[in-house]
């Protein structure tokens, strides 16, 4: 179905890795996984199949890519001709919809191909039935959850009936339930005899669906595996390749092996004296009678990393917005701990950019006070890069007056402090670059640098690892751990069981706006969390 014949593609004047000397064939009805580190060329391979390279992305292509008998580079009709055979699902649900309502979206591709309206309606009805999404039809897309959006994206390529489906990191923004749905969709395509190509970092949910896997490194196909070979990789080998767990049971396995998280210093339930206490948090939408979020009491251990988990729409993001004090509708207070976090006081003093605050029974923080006590690193870090240089970004977040009062606060001193924070985060060389010219990981570290510069005690992360490969995920987990080690209280919203177990000390589980569990990651806690966040994978 798809042939690569000595294919090399290099992006024009761009740092992106291309693909080099790719040879291979993907057979009709086969499900192929593209795996490897970020920037290994996975995405480029998907673009070569759907024709975006070279038709949308400029670059030089040598060799031939043939899809369903069409040479993608020279096919008459270009992208549109390829589009009849190849359907594409992308990572970001925010930017792959062209219309405002679900029905219109499902019709979009068919309308472009000038199918008769009645036939399109029949197709929509049958795809909606196949995908169990009749209830979504006619609904506004903006009101859907990330998982529902991804389902709509899959359905909307399905209506046009392409033979080949290409998915580029489709699970990045999804929770366990939505991943299970996505798995069912791919299984359906497989049964329908479609050729499916998936580029992914999270692999466990594809267990049993993969016929073959291509492992890429630096734009080259380095290793080809059958589905069984991929499944059978030893943990050591898998880590050597930088791949995330390929089977669900390996997720818990990684935890008990790496015991960084299972910390005996704090037991199964958080200690009240050393925790921030969340009291009477609630959030009620306008015109709603019942609060969407209702948390009478919860504990966030100080100087620890707490993972806030739950399904899409469970109220996690509302909870952290309340915590940050961003919304006027948020009610409730946050009481600082009565005792300092154990062993953190000395670490706090040693870290530049931290205000060592005297810990005494402080009064509970109301919404406005929390705005200055917490700092959130947003999921989309592009929304918080404002200035013309990385250094300015850090200075912007730094308070004019230092809380401790015993440090000089002149512009020179501020800059020195900012540079030392950047050095700690391995950003010293890029201090004078424009933030938008950095890579995704670097941008995220700039946001973290801003959080450190703010000198605030609570740092909140909203989904920091969507779309990260294993190495980068471990890096981010390490950053969170070091923040906690320096005395910061870290709260991280995540769907990702692998990340939660690597980064957090404990979990606050939220479902339908209520706290349903609060426990530490001892061995039992880890298993409980992994079971909760991992999609059911049944063959």
């Amino acid at each position: 179905m798809i042939h690569f014949d000595q294919v090399t593609f290099e992006y024009a004047g761009d740092a992106h890795t291309g693909v080099y000397d790719l040879n291979g064939e993907i057979k009709s009805g086969e499900t192929l996984l593209l795996c490897g580190d970020s920037g290994c060329g996975k995405t480029t391979v998907t673009r070569l199949i759907n024709g975006l390279a070279p038709h949308y992305f400029d670059g030089t292509l040598t060799g031939h890519v043939a899809v369903a008998g069409l040479d993608t580079a020279s096919a008459p009709g270009g992208l549109a001709a390829i589009a009849r055979h190849v359907g594409s699902v992308f990572q970001n649900p925010k930017s792959q919809f062209f219309t405002l309502d679900v029905t219109g979206e499902l019709a979009f591709a068919c309308e472009n191909f000038q199918m008769p309206p009645d036939e399109i309606r029949t197709r929509i009805a049958s795809v909606a039935a196949d995908f169990h999404m009749e209830d979504l039809l006619d609904r506004p897309i903006t009101n859907l959850s990330g998982g529902q959006k991804q389902k709509v994206a899959c359905a909307s390529v399905s209506t046009a009936g392409p033979d080949v489906l290409v998915l580029d990191e489709p699970s990045s923004n999804l929770d366990a339930r939505a991943i299970a749905d996505l798995r069912a969709i791919i299984a359906l395509w497989k049964r329908q005899g479609k050729t499916v190509v998936i580029a992914e970092h999270r692999l466990y949910w594809l267990d049993g669906l993969i016929d073959r896997a291509w492992y890429l490194r630096h734009g080259r196909l380095e290793r080809e595996m059958t589905g069984d070979e991929l499944r059978g990789l030893s943990d050591a080998e898998r880590r050597e390749l930088g791949l995330r767990p390929v089977r669900a049971e390996q997720i818990v396995g990684t935890v008990s092996a790496a015991d960084s998280a299972a910390d005996s210093a704090f037991g199964s339930a958080p200690e009240t004296a050393r925790s921030y206490a969340v009291d009477h948090f609630s959030y009620t939408y306008r015109r709603a009678k019942q609060p969407t979020l209702d948390v009478p009491h919860a504990l966030l251990p100080a100087g620890r990393v707490t993972a806030v988990t739950g399904f899409n729409g469970a109220g996690k993001s509302t909870f952290v917005r309340c915590l940050q004090g961003l919304d006027r509708r948020c009610k409730g207070t946050l009481a600082p701990p009565a005792m300092p976090p154990s062993g953190a006081a000395s670490a706090t003093a040693a870290t530049p950019g931290t205000d060592a605050k005297p810990v005494k029974p402080a009064k509970p923080l109301d919404r406005k006070a929390r705005l200055n006590a917490c700092f959130t690193v947003l999921q989309d870090v592009n929304c918080e890069l404002f200035t013309e240089s990385v250094l300015d970004e850090v200075l912007l977040a730094m308070p004019e007056r230092d809380g401790s009062g015993d440090e000089p606060t002149g512009p020179a001193a501020r800059e020195t402090k900012a540079r030392s924070i950047l050095a700690d985060l391995d950003l010293a060389e890029v201090a004078d670059r424009h933030p938008l010219s950095l890579s995704g990981g670097q941008k995220q570290r700039v946001a973290i640098a801003a959080a450190l510069a703010s000198g605030r005690d609570i740092v909140i992360f909203d989904e920091p690892t969507s779309g990260l490969d294993m190495r980068h995920m471990r890096e981010v987990a390490g950053l969170l751990r070091s923040l906690a080690a320096s005395g910061r209280t870290v709260v991280v919203v995540t769907h990702d069981p692998e990340f939660a177990l690597a980064a957090a000390d404990g979990v606050l589980a939220i479902d339908r706006g209520r706290v349903t569990g609060s426990y530490a990651f001892d061995a039992a806690g880890a298993r409980r969390l992994a079971a909760f966040l991992t999609a059911k994978v049944t063959a």
Binding site: N92, N382, C383
Partner: protein, 240 residues
């Protein structure tokens, strides 16, 4: 301002083209005061206002129609009984407010009716039937699609700025506007770029025209309303 996302399924379904014609007619007479103070023009304005209310009421928004009606009623009542007794600046102020209310309200009602009974898809389909080229309809579709996205982005940027103490009254007000533009533009460009990729891989531009599942077309009610609009303009030619 946003289009409806579910197509209207009530009894009085009009083609989007008819709705646009009606809204423009109301705008011409009530908003821009076509026909000036001629008695025929006043009669036309009255009739258009009444029809706007009726359309809104029978199209499933009786409560909204009632609110508009009370609002307009209060404005006229105030003009009749309150205005003659108030002079000076206050009188002028009330006069101006009432004038603007009575002048804009009918158009507001008609536009509201147009928006909530029409989906973006229907509008685009109608424009395509009217032989408006894709070079116009596609950017228009993208524009409708973009509003909610841009609002969402702006909210996140706002959050990030407030965390940094950059907000009105936060002592960094001058940076507020400067800093907001950068992420707004870069994010919009990025979204637009990804959106184009998604649209192209789904065959946008495959053919010079597209089909549409939007059920549009003219029925008796369209001819009736269009004839009514024509009559309004014809009334201008009346000798009195």
């Amino acid at each position: 301002m946003n289009f409806s996302t579910a197509s209207y399924r009530g009894i009085l379904r009009f083609d989007p083209r008819t709705k646009i014609l009606f809204t423009l007619t109301v705008g011409a007479f009530c908003l821009t005061m076509l026909g000036g103070s001629a008695p025929a023009a006043s009669a036309v304005r009255g009739a258009l206002t009444v029809v706007s209310f009726l359309l809104l009421a029978v199209s499933g928004r009786p409560r909204a129609a009632l609110v508009f009606l009370v609002w307009l009623g209060v404005a006229y009542a105030a003009a009749e009984w309150l205005l003659p007794h108030v002079g000076g600046f206050l009188g002028w102020f009330i006069y101006a407010t009432l004038g603007m209310t009575t002048q804009t309200l009918p158009s507001a009602i008609a536009s509201y009716w147009l928006l909530f009974t029409t989906t973006a898809g229907e509008l685009i389909a109608a424009l395509q039937r009217a032989r408006v080229p894709q070079a116009v309809t596609i950017p228009l579709a993208v524009m409708f699609r973009f509003f909610p996205t841009v609002v969402g982005e702006a909210r996140q940027i706002n959050d990030a700025m407030r965390m940094r103490g950059v907000h009105l009254g936060g002592g960094k007000a001058s940076e507020m506007f400067e800093y907001r533009v950068v992420p707004m533009v870069t994010n919009s460009v990025k979204i637009a770029d990804e959106l184009s990729q998604a649209a192209l891989t789904r065959g946008l531009g495959a053919a010079p025209t597209r089909t549409s599942i939007a059920r549009i077309g003219f029925g008796w009610q369209d001819w009736l309303l269009a004839a009514g609009c024509a009559a309004c303009f014809a009334a201008l030619a009346l000798p009195w």
